[in-house]
Amino acid sequence: MRRVGIVAVAQTDHARHRDDATAAELLYPVVKEAVAASGLSRHEIDYTCAASSDFLEGRPFSFGFALDAAGAVPPIEESHIEGDGAWAAYDAWVRIQAGLADSALVVAWGKSSEGSLPHVLNATLDPFWESPLGLDAVALAALQAQALGLPDEQLHAIVARNRAAARANPHAQITAEPDPASPFIVEPFRREHLPPISDGACALVMAAEEVLARLDAPVAWIGAAAHASDAASISARDLTLASSARAAIAAADPDRDWRMLDVAEVMAPFPHQEPMLLEAFSINVGAVNPSGGALAANPIMATGLVRLAEAALQVTGTAGLRQVPGARRGLAHATAGHCLQSNIVFLLEGTP
């Protein structure tokens, strides 16, 4: 396997409404920042993989308009993942492993403010039996949280810890102490225990060892990466298990060399999912979500790539005020589908 590492990351300040920017305008500054920080010129980067969702933006081929921001004149070797950018990072890593590229730019963006998110996410469900019930992501996650049965105080403590951590993250959207008595939206979730709806974008540059050797920058080496999917229907799986997260970590780390970690950035937009994932990964970890995680900013389709970017910052000791002291080994995770249907993990080790 080729040694591949992340050499530069950038993200927007995530916000509820970015009415000032189209998707391309959200993306352009982060592409520019990540490429500049990498030490490579735009056209020295061999491959580009983008990630987004047409439904989220309310128009087909929405990613085509972002090619302007990604820098596609002259043409670029490129692909696009419909979904979260963490999977685009995986695709780029595979292309580099295959020797089809030595370096890659990965970009992801989400503008949830373009539509009504509960209605948009309802459209992911089985169109005959589930979608007509009016379920949305929050209601489905609540069913999972009920199956898990964590007490109200524990859910609150998880949210409060993430929001407190987010105060050290200049990109975070919600940092206020949650009200433990805010009204229930869907039991067991209180209003202030839900993830924010966010607009945002993220970009990162990864490259093979030969390329990184001539760049003078800290590197977050990708020790392993793997993902797995589960069935869609919540009636077809044990909601308390996160089986595909277990399959992903087993594929990434079959010998369990990555049990002891300094930091983990897990995508847990709903508070009960954080302990579920940590149990599924069976890791001993120093700090969880020093960025504040998806509970502090959730630009879906970029949320997972932000986790990878945040973990890369941590293991290279470049996370600023939110730095976990001495962090060198970490895990980044993203999820897709409802109730942790599909999960991806990256295991990172930094050289400062």
């Binding site: 085509g64 043409p75 996410l121 459209a123």
Partner: protein, 378 residues
């Protein structure tokens, strides 16, 4: 990239409306055929790569979540690709790269569309952030390109209609094809003008259909396998000052890279399966893909070079003009190219085909995917 072989190919019978199967059933049909072809079971597959055109077609957002079971993807990596019309081609290339990386042994690529459950004009019409909504579908986007081609290269008006006749005649040899029409030139000329210069019979249909390909490492390849020799997926901005769409640089460069990886020139190709949703686009693509010099595409066709039995037969399957389940159309090009070099293309076989090109494009010739397949192992 380590050597990658095509282990199996499966496609549905394509039609206007496959009311006999659900969307998951349609996909499963193609996958089952590919597994049967490769003599493999679902348990043998390490990862699934899905490609489909805009989610707005079937109205299900990120349908790979819903379809994880139908894809045989439970407990496995499922990755979803979307690169506009080139998506089927890009999906096949992504799957080949997964095997080529050494991380996976056997990877399933799937493309589908069930147009009968969708509204393509709406599904293909972007709502632009600036300017007016373009509510005219794909034909209206390509008519000016066809017109520009005719004018710049002084191409006779009958070339386009004759391309349509060739495609449908070839499709008569393909049992899976959607439109299997024994057409005369007069019938094409008499069909209604939809987007001048594109007539109804010079347009692709909307089809229900799916295709699956299984890529595998050398140890799993059987005698007579098709080998992946060169791959590229290129994109360029949708519009920019000075863009010459008739020489779309993403297409020229995509083909150049695939040939270079394969160590061939276009003259070494024995057969090509290219993405021609409208008649005139076929001759334009001959030029982009390096089959001939700029401006010579229509002459190459006129001389019969790309007929079955010609110097470089193009689209012996009948192409996109005969079968167009959009998310699958690009992968059908790669699958048909693989069948040709495996000498398993039945009545549409090009005798002695050893090297083939599969090509797909998307947007206004803004996304391209090229795969060179060969009888010879790299």
């Amino acid at each position: 990239m380590r050597p990658v072989a095509v282990l199996g190919v499966g496609q549905t019978d394509h039609a206007s409306a496959r009311t006999d199967v659900s969307l998951p059933g349609l996909i499963r049909d193609a996958i089952d055929r590919a597994l049967l072809d490769a003599a493999l079971e679902h348990d043998d597959i390490d990862a699934v790569i899905l490609g489909t055109a805009p989610d707005f077609f079937e109205g299900v957002m990120l349908p790979e979540w819903w379809l994880a079971g139908a894809l045989g993807g439970i407990g496995k990596p499922v990755l979803r690709v979307h690169t506009m019309g080139s998506v089927g081609g890009a999906t096949a290339i992504t799957a080949a790269a997964h095997v080529g990386s050494g991380l996976f042994e056997r990877v399933l690529a799937v493309g589908f569309e069930k147009h009968s459950e969708s509204q393509a004009l709406w599904g293909l019409t972007p709502r632009n952030p600036f300017g007016r909504t373009f509510g005219a579908g794909a034909g209206a986007a390509f008519a000016p390109i066809c017109r520009a081609y005719m004018q710049r290269h002084s191409a006779p008006a009958e070339i386009g209609p004759r391309v349509a006749v060739k495609a449908r005649a070839n499709a008569l040899r393909n049992p899976h094809a959607h439109l299997r029409l024994d057409l005369t030139l007069d019938e094409v000329l008499a069909s209604p003008m939809l987007w001048d210069p594109i007539r109804r019979l010079e347009s692709c249909p909307q089809s229900d259909g799916a295709v699956a390909m299984i890529f595998g490492a050398e140890t799993h390849a059987r005698a007579g396998a098709a080998w992946v020799r060169g791959v590229s997926t290129m994109a360029e901005a949708l519009s920019y000052p000075g863009r010459d769409v008739l020489r779309a640089p993403s297409g020229v460069e995509c083909a150049r890279r695939a040939y270079a990886q394969a160590g061939i020139t276009p003259a070494d190709l024995d057969v090509a399966e290219i993405y021609e949703p409208f008649s005139w686009i076929e001759v334009l693509l001959y030029e982009l893909l390096g089959f001939c010099e700029p401006g010579e595409g229509w002459r190459m066709f006129d001389h019969g070079d790309t007929d079955l039995g010609g110097r470089l037969p193009v689209n012996p399957s009948g192409g996109v003009l005969s079968t167009n389940p959009i998310g699958a159309s690009g992968m059908l090009r790669m699958a048909e190219a693989a069948l040709q070099v495996m000498a398993r293309a039945g009545e549409r076989q090009v005798d002695g085909a050893r090297t083939a090109l599969g090509h797909a494009y998307g947007g206004t010739l803004s996304y391209h995917a090229c795969m060179v397949l060969s009888k010879e192992k790299p």
